[in-house]
Structures are given as C-alpha cells and as structure tokens.
Amino acid sequence: MNREQVSRTLQQHGAAMVLGVLVIVGSLAFDSFATPENAASVVVSSSFLAIIAIGMTFVIISGGIDLSVGSLFVLGGVLAAYGSRSGPLVALLLPLAVCGAVGLLQGLVIARTGMAPFIVTLAGLLGVRGLMLAISDEGATTYLVEDRAFAALGQGQLLGLSYPVYVTAALALAAMVLLQRTGFGQNVYAIGGNEQAAALMGVPVARTKVYVYVMSGLLAGLAGALNAARLSSGVTILGIGLELDAIAAVVIGGTLLTGGAGGITGSVAGVLLLGVIQSLINQVGSLTSAFQQVVSGAFLAFVVVAQRLLSKAQRLT
C-alpha cells in the first residue's frame, strides 16, 4: 500500500480500528467489561443514537447539517407515547409523520431558498422543542406507553439483544446500499463534493437535498419512538444535545464535515466508540460519567485534526 492508500484506509476505517483496540484493552483491563451483559448494554444504548447518526451521515455527506434531530428525537418519543393510546400503529406512524413533515419543511426551505442548513435546522431545533413542551405542558405531563404491542417493540428480545438493535442493523444495511449502490446515494456524494459541478452533471440537487432532510427527520422520529417503547414513556428531558452527539459520531467515523466523503460503517463505529468510551469510564469507577464528555470531546478534536492531515497527505500524492 502506498501512502495515499494508507491515509484513505485510516480515514475510512480509523474509528473501527480504534474501537477494536479499545475493546481489546478494556477486556484485558477490566473483568466486568467483556461480559455479554455489558456488551449488550453498550449495543442497546447505542442503537438509538446510531439510527439518528445514519440520517445525519446522509445530511453531512451532502454538505449540510441537521441540528433539529435531538428535538425531533424527544418529540418522536412524546408523540409515540401519546399515540399509543390509539394502538401500536398510531404510536409508530404519528411520530414518523410529524418528524418527517418537519424534515420536509426544513429540506424545502434549505433547497429552495438556499438558506444555510445550520440556521434552518437551528430554527427547527428551537421550534420543535417548543412544540414538544406545548404537548407535554412544559414537561409536566409525561405520557406513558399504554399499548403492550408497541412497548414490546422496544423491550422484546431476541438472542439476548432487544429489538431496536436489529432495527438499527437493518437500517444501517439498507442505508449502506442506498448510499453506495443507488443513484440517490451517488447524488448525495456529488452534491457534497461540489454542488455546482453536480448541478452541471445533471444531478437533481434540490430534490436530493429535500430527501436527505426528510430521511434525517424520519429516522430521528423513529429513534424517539423506539426509545419511548423501551422506556414505556415519552420522556421530555432526554435528548437535549443529542444532535451534537450524532454529529460527533459521524465525524469521528470519518465523514468530512465539509461534505462529499464518508460512510455508514464509519458512523456506526463512531457511535459504538462513544458508547465504549462511556462504558470504560464507568468501569474505572473513580471517574464520573461527566468525564466521558471530556474524553469524547478530546477524541473528536483529535479526529478532526487527523482528518485534516490525512486529506492533505492524499492531495500531495
């Protein structure tokens, strides 16, 4: 392998490699780390962030950003709990419809007016949080999931792992095919790589952008609904700042914040990496979980600097 290939491999699979190293080190250092229970716990708690990160990967590769997903995650949970009174189907479809609609609105504004995604989705973040507070009487009302079938979607298990893990895996696979093997996926890369060139190459830029934000909204809503099913209630305080975790995971996974390069496997590895770091810090015991954010933040900074250096190395060859 020449230098260019090495740097490209590092960029694409660096997160997975670090993840592997951490898992090995953790297993050797702590007896209680490499247990099936702990592994299941990390995987299950990561699955909701992973679903959001999948949508975020598309958004960031297209050159955009979606700050509304944390709020949509919470709103999705509240709506799912609220809708569960009318049966499992409503519990699942209500959050998808509303969150998808918010994504559609944001996508249309971004694609049609050319406004910056940062501002548009920041407005989405604030607006959706307000909507959620209105539904829950400013957090005073907590809706409980009253439908057994819907709760089972979040709590049921297969081979020791709860259903959301399988949903996440299926979504990740579908997203990989969508991104790598369809015209839509190619268009997302092209737009993020060079929007003007993409337009001249005949890529439907506006339509593709709208799809990307709809998808991100739908996935955030779905993650919220699954989380509500798992917790049996639509909790209104969780999910603050989740959009930043999702962005961090995607960037750690090797997707360029400037768009045009990246992938789903990296983002999933990034999510798991954040989960493993948290688990390891819990193992140490003497460190509070607040320390996890310091480590994650430092790691993120490291990755961004490394990416900069790697892409420089690739350009030089």
Binding site: E4, V177, R181, T182, A190, G193, A197, G260, Q314
Partner: protein, 520 residues
C-alpha cells in the same frame, strides 16, 4: 456584403443541429448578447472567439440551458428549443466541457465518469464491478490509464480534464461545447484531445471550440464565429481568414481605418520618460506551469510599461506573480536591485510594489467599509507606531488623496459601495498611493468605469509617472495601451513574444506581434 456571405454560407452547409437566431440576453445594466445568430452543423468544429466581455460565456450558457434568452430563438435539431436547466440540455444531447474541471474531486474516477448512468445489477442496484470495468474501458480510449477507484482529485489536472471530456462525449451527445479545453493540458494530452475531436467529427457530432490559442483554432476548426461587445462580428470559414484579420475582428480594429489620435487622455508628448535609470522593479524568468513561461519584465522610475496580448496570455498572472500573489515554479523579482523574498504580497507592499487588481469587486473594494477605511487599509502599518494607529494621520492622508484624486463622496465616512465605479477605482488607487509605492501595477484600471472617470484615471497615471512612479499598465483597450505606455511587452501563451518601443508602439504592431506564428 456580410449578409450575402452569411446566406451563401447557410445554403451551402447541411442543416444546422444547434442554432441561435437573433438571440438577445440582458442583465441589469448590460446587454450581454445583442441579436446574435450562430449555426452549428453536424460534423463541424466551430470556433467561438472574442475578448473578455464579448458574450462568449453568455452564449454558451444560453446554448446549455443555464440562461434563457430574452429575445430571439434557439433551435435544436430543426425545432425551436427551450432548455429550462443544464440537465435538460444534457439529456437532449448537448454536452459541455468547462474550463475549470467541473467534476466532484472526492468521488472516484469511475463514479465521476458514470454518475447518473451507472450500470445496474439486480434490484436496480449499482453493479460496482461492471462500473469499474466500463470506466476503465472508456478511459483507455482517451489515453488515461489509472485505477478508476481512486478519488478524482488524485489525478493530474490534464487527466481530470480527460475524464470530463470522456463523460461529456460518452453520453449520447450530438453537440459538444468545449470552453478553453486545453488551458491545463500537457502537449501530449492536447494531441489526444485533437484525436478525440477528429473522431467526433467523423461521427457527425458538432463541436463548438472556444479558445484563445490561435494555433489550435487553425489546426482543428472548420469555421469561426467572432463576438465583440455582445454582437456578432463575423462568421465564416476559418481557412482563408488571415490571422491578423481575425485578431482585428476580435479587438474591433479595422486595419484600413485611419488611426484617430487623442481619444484617450494620455498626454505623452512623444518623448520617453525613462531616462536610463536602473529599473525599480525587475522580474526575471517568471515561470509557472501552464501559465507563465519565463517572463522578463522591468520597469524604470517614471516609465509606463504596457503589457499587451489577448485574454489568457498571462498579463494578469504576470502582475500577480510580481507582487507574490501567484505561486511560482521559478523566477525572481528584484526591487531596486534587491531580491524580493518570501513570495508574499505583504513583502511586496513593504518593498514598494502595489497591485491594483483587475476585479474591483472581488479583489479590491471592501464594500461594507467607508471610503476612509478603504483608503487607509493598506497604509495602516505605515501610519502608526508600535501597532497603534494615529487617527489624525489617517484623516490627513485620506483628505489629501480624496482631494488630489477628486474622489466624489459625500464625506470620507460614506460607504464605498455607494460610490460610482469610477470613484471606487479612484479609492483603490488612493489606497495604493497612500503606501507610497515605487511601482504601481495597474490591471485594467479603466474597465467598467464611465468615460469621464476613465479620462481622469488616465490623466492621473500620466501625472504619477511624471513624478517618478514606475507603472505597469495592463489593458485590453489597445488605444489606452498605445497612448499610455512608453514601452509595450506583448505576451502570448504565458511568454513574452515581442517588445515594442518608440515608434513601434502602434495598435497594428501589437496585433501583428500577437498574430505571429509561434514557430514561424
């Protein structure tokens, strides 16, 4: 005369595949195209030439669906056509290769080549193996042998251009428009390109070829259309059209026309002002791949040196290289005999060399600042002590230059964006004069400003030179160049191809020098 020529022309050839009939395109304040007609026939290579602002790019954008004409008709394959987007034009069979490679640098070569028509396997999913195979096969035909999985940006610019070309041609194109396709190609790649063009011609595809390199035009083109100031200046067969005549058409100069004197405000009483003094700035062997090829320029105190040549000949690049704004592969700049080091504009300014850039809006004026702030900007380091700037000294300098250059502004605190183009240009001149340069490089100093302001700027250049400032003047306006400069260096394809001084400084001589065969 021209009309009969046109009619005969259109009767003789086959039915045009793409045609503009009396196309007009208006932008706020500018008539970019004024009743332009152009017919592109299958199997011909048609040159489109003209100076900056002649309307070439606008016409191309009308053909490719980027702009819609305000008047006139666009006809494609015998029927009226209106392309709403570049995509529509592309689907209809009109492909374009842009001067800058318009592909996605981070995507793989194969994906760039085949984006939008990737080979599909089961379930309509892209068949990656087939895609790479096809990409390799297609590119081999263009002399590009590379790993098609690599990101496009790891290829050289020439190879990238070849990928763009292959992409444009391999869609079912009936018309291929090439905008300065050879500007970043190596000679070997140019040969490959010409081979591809020959194949296209055999296949009956119409090629529109935009270039300033006359040698290339005469090698590959059958017919030529000349645009000037948004109007059709000439259209007809290229063979038999004299080079000198072609240049005269582009520049809007009639060779037989008696030269009228004194249209500009230069007052160059005939005697050269340079007086054997040592050059204040001297550039030796400025070289940058594809751009500059060993350019030597020197300016003495009180001398106005003109840079002539067509668009893309390297005039602007030479000026930028002198002030260190263009990275160089080789060459040296001496200011008052001492080499300028570091290749930074700050070093050049400190040494006394300032550039008034061509694009006022993009590279000069800061519209959100006032007249005063715009003038003082470059001089700030000189106007203070230990980094603290004296407001009183700024006020004084600004006042002096506003009066001297007759800048018409309500007050020094008026926003510069509210001034007319001519006054903005004077503000920029003031900015550079405020740093007390030894040499001022002026790139198109009178473009886009009204006649009155133009005369004032020209008179000012004269005055400054008389006071001992060295001036390097770049202008597409031949009259301005001839009457303003003591000496003219003519550039072609990044190299100095002639130096004119004294009685040789005439429009005819400049054009003749540009037209000389590179190898003749």
């Amino acid at each position: 005369m021209r009309r009969t020529e046109l009619t005969a022309d259109s009767v003789a050839g086959p039915e045009p595949v793409l045609e503009a009939r009396g196309v007009t395109k208006r932008f706020p304040g500018v008539l970019a195209l004024d009743g332009v007609s152009l017919a592109l026939r299958p199997g011909e290579v048609h040159a489109l030439v003209g100076e900056n602002g002649a309307g070439k790019s606008t016409l191309i954008k009308v053909f490719t669906g980027v702009y819609r004409p305000d008047g006139g008709e666009l006809r494609y394959r015998g029927a009226p056509a209106a392309f709403a987007t570049p995509m529509d034009a592309q689907h209809a069979g009109i492909s374009t290769i842009y001067q800058e490679v318009n592909l996605v640098p981070m995507m793989s070569v194969a994906r760039n080549l085949l984006l939008g028509r990737e080979p599909r396997g089961r379930f309509g999913v892209i068949d990656a193996a087939a895609m790479y195979g096809e990409a390799e096969r297609v590119l081999a035909g263009y002399g590009v042998e590379t790993d098609v999985r690599r990101p496009l940006r790891t290829l050289g610019v020439g190879a990238q251009q070849m990928v763009a070309l292959a992409r444009a041609v391999s869609v079912d194109a009936r018309v291929v428009i090439m905008d300065e396709p050879t500007s970043s190609l190596e000679p070997r790649e140019v040969e490959t390109l010409f081979g591809v063009i020959a194949k296209l011609r055999e296949r009956g595809i119409a090629v529109m070829y935009v270039s300033h390199r006359l040698d290339e035009l005469y090698r590959v083109c059958d017919r030529v259309t000349v645009l000037r100031d948004g109007r059709l200046a000439h259209t007809g067969p290229l063979a038999g059209l004299d080079r000198l005549r072609l240049i005269a058409l582009m520049l809007g100069r009639d060779l037989d026309e008696v030269r009228s004197a004194g249209l500009t405000s230069f007052d160059r009483a005939g005697q050269p002002r340079a007086n054997g003094q040592a050059p204040v700035v001297e550039a030796r062997g400025l070289t940058r791949r594809h751009v500059l090829d060993g350019v030597d320029v020197s300016v003495r105190p009180g001398e106005v040196v003109g840079l002539g040549g067509l668009l893309g000949a390297g005039r602007t690049e030479t000026a930028k290289a002198i002030v260190g704004a263009l990275p160089l592969d080789g060459g040296q700049v001496l200011v008052a005999g001492a080499p300028l080091r570091g290749g930074s504009t700050a070093a050049a300014i400190r040494a006394g060399v300032s550039l008034l850039p061509e694009d006022r809006k993009a590279e000069g004026i800061i519209p959100t600042l006032s007249v005063r702030e715009n003038i003082a900007l470059a001089a700030l380091p000189a106007l203070g002590r230990a980094g603290v700037v004296s407001e009183a000294r700024i006020d004084k300098v600004v006042e002096i230059f506003m009066r001297r250059l007759r800048i018409k502004a309500a007050s020094p605190h008026q926003l510069v964006s509210e001034l007319s183009g001519g006054n903005q240009q004077k503000v920029l001149l003031a900015r550079w004069l405020a740093v007390r340069p030894k040499v001022l490089l002026l790139d198109e100093p009178t473009r886009g400003i009204d006649v009155g302001a133009k005369a004032e700027v020209q008179a000012l250049i004269d005055e400054l030179a008389r006071e001992g400032l060295g001036v390097l003047l770049i202008s597409s306006d031949l009259e301005e160049l001839v009457e303003g400069a003591d000496r003219i260096l003519v550039l072609r394809e990044g190299a100095v191809v002639g130096e004119l001084s004294g009685d040789e400084v005439t429009e005819e001589r400049i054009m003749a020098t540009i037209a000389e065969q590179a190898d003749g």
